[in-house]
């Protein structure tokens, strides 16, 4: 897992549900690049057009509520999003993100659309380069940190099963 990354901030409010992240009519593929074309398409149509590799989602409370669709974090990964920072996460989204290796960080930021955001996971710091403000966040529990370091639940499971062949 990369511990340092960053990009432009895409700012959202509270209770962004997974239907907004990827509407149900597009749940007919698991291809991340294909899903990415429809990420936030109903509520922020410019997102899939303008999002760049490394960009960061910054949101309010209860991000990712609703449906358990793993297509949601996969669509964001496919779009190049490097991490999601929210005041709080709905639990299934949080787990899905961790399990597929998308960093999710609980923190409250002062941020405007398009601000430059840098994240250092090892130090537990988010820096808003546009405003100069730094925000710290709590580290993951050890088990979750271990999963993130291994790259998610799939590599961990392969290790536990003793699978030797690589993908």
């Amino acid at each position: 897992m990369k511990s340092h990354f960053g990009g432009k901030a895409w700012v959202f409010g509270d209770n962004v549900d997974t239907d907004q992240i990827i509407p149900a009519e597009y749940l007919v593929t698991m291809n991340s690049a294909e899903l990415a074309k429809h990420a936030f398409v109903k509520v922020m149509p410019e997102f899939p057009v303008n999002v760049k590799e490394g960009d960061v989602i910054v949101a309010g409370r209860n991000f990712g509520c609703g449906s358990s669709r793993e297509h949601a974090p996969r669509a964001l990964m496919g779009a190049g999003v490097s991490c999601v920072i929210a005041e709080s996460f709905a639990r299934i989204f949080f787990r899905n993100a961790i399990n597929i290796g998308l960093p999710v960080i609980e923190a409250t930021l002062e941020v405007d659309q398009g601000d430059d955001i840098e994240v250092d996971v090892s130090k537990g710091v988010v820096r808003n380069d546009s405003s100069g403000k730094e925000t710290t966040f709590a580290s993951y529990p050890p088990f979750v940190m271990m999963l993130m370091e291994k790259g998610g639940l799939v590599p961990y499971t392969k290790e536990r099963l003793g699978c030797t062949r690589s993908e």
């Binding site: 209770n15 793993e70 996969r74 597929i100 529990p141 499971t157 392969k158 099963l161 699978c163 030797t164």
Partner: protein, 417 residues
């Protein structure tokens, strides 16, 4: 150490004494996937060097079956092919199946004390039978196919006590919407809800399922109701294997305890765009274009009976489309035998076989810009049932049926007198 129901079940399944806050790997009894979530789980699973734990797996196509387009047909075929390749017995084709959560309960996979996961957020429905059940992602489901275990953070628990006698036309849906309206859509985030009290004991199992089903709409990880003789009766002749009922200890610790008087609960509606935006049905009054009766939340025979009793001898209002979708083949057959379809059809309602389709805006009832639907489903997010300028109002079967007749959202008593 006194334990909540969540702590007891997870301790038993982790084979050690655990309490809220700990992260454990626990043995899962069953893992369910549907046609939306299964394909990704299968792809991940094929990377593991082990045969699947077939007995634990349940495959239920329900979201886009019968297939809505070629892409969804490919996903459903992938499910069928996987079941065939690994000889998975618990695969339920259309014509013998239905909406996954209803089927999991009907087919006896769910029982008290079990730990069940499903790659669908409404898996928490099974808490109504005294199980710890929670929604997971596709990748997680794949790892359960392979190892039979999954990691869980043992949640804290909140207790909701409902006592007293419910009024006329008030159902489990009104109870859970009232609770969500009270605590908000993240009121139970990361937590397990325990819903108790003499009002809950008096409810049939079907209405308890409605309550547990919507726990996720308050952010809950599980929504558990203490199992009783009604659950035992329901399970007779249908449950797989044996089970043991689990209860919370008297002095278990809760992060919050909330009490409700049943007489204060009225027929309610959750207005757009959050399930917590709750108001009495009598105060809503907006006109509607569509009325939807069905889903894992309210597509059971008991729900259809409530609606049919209101619709009998009446007509769906001109300008309203009513759609009735029984949640499973069993529900469908019972509704036919009981003559409910005749009542719905005479009233001018459209009836279909089981599918999740319209609930998530997939097909079979998608809304155009500006349209409004009163629905017995579980989510009213922006664009949930169609265009982002369409609106969904969530309610119980009585409000939906009465509103279909009135042409606007009303308290059922306005139609029944």
């Amino acid at each position: 150490m006194a334990k909540t129901m969540a702590e007891k079940i997870l301790s038993a399944k982790a084979r050690k004494d655990v309490r809220a806050g700990e992260i454990v790997e626990a043995e899962v009894d069953y893992v369910m996937v549907n046609d939306i979530t299964a394909p990704a789980a299968f792809d991940e699973f094929e990377g593991f060097c082990t045969p699947p734990l077939e007995k634990k797996m349940v495959l239920i196509p329900d979201h886009y079956v019968p297939n809505k387009d070629v892409a969804s047909a490919i996903q459903a075929k992938k499910m069928r092919d996987f079941a065939s390749k690994y000889k998975i017995r618990n695969y339920f084709e259309i014509g013998s199946g239905g909406v996954c959560h209803q089927l999991m309960i009907e087919k006896g996979f769910v029982a008290p004390g079990r730990l069940i996961v499903g790659a669908d957020s409404h898996t928490c429905s099974y808490g109504a039978m005294g199980a710890f059940a929670t929604g997971i992602g596709s990748t997680e489901a794949a790892t359960v196919f392979a190892r039979g275990v999954l990691w869980f953070k043992v949640p804290e628990s909140m207790k909701f006590e409902v006592n007293g006698q419910l009024g006329r036309h008030v159902s489990g849906k009104d109870i859970i919407l009232t609770i969500i309206g009270d605590i908000g859509v993240e009121g139970a985030l990361y937590q397990s809800m325990e819903v108790v009290g003499d009002t809950i004991s008096a409810l049939p199992v079907s209405e308890r399922v409605t309550i547990s089903n919507m726990g996720i709409e308050a952010g809950a990880k599980a929504c558990i109701i203490p199992p009783d003789a009604k659950v035992d009766d329901y399970l007779k002749g249908r449950v797989r294997d044996t089970y043991e009922k689990v209860y919370a200890d008297k002095d278990a610790e809760y992060s919050d305890i909330r009490k409700y008087d049943a007489k204060d609960i009225v027929p309610v509606v959750a207005k757009p765009f959050l399930p917590s935006n709750v108001a009495p049905a009598s105060e809503v009054g907006v006109t509607i274009d569509q009325a939807y009766l069905g889903s894992c939340t309210n597509g059971r025979i008991e729900d259809l009976r409530v609606a049919a009793a209101i619709l009998k001898g009446k007509k769906v209002h001109e300008g309203v489309r009513m759609i009735v979708v029984p949640a499973s083949k069993d529900v469908f057959d019972k509704a036919m035998e009981e003559g409910l379809f005749k009542i719905f059809s005479d009233a001018g309602a459209f009836i279909s076989g089981p599918t999740c389709g319209a609930c998530l805006g997939g097909y079979m009832g998608v809304l155009a810009p500006g349209e409004r639907c009163v629905s017995t489903t579980n989510r009213n997010f922006i664009g949930r049932m169609g265009h982002m300028e369409s609106e969904v109002y969530l309610a119980g079967p009585a409000v939906v049926a009465a509103s279909a007749v009135a042409g606007r959202i009303v308290d059922p008593s306005e139609v029944t007198g």
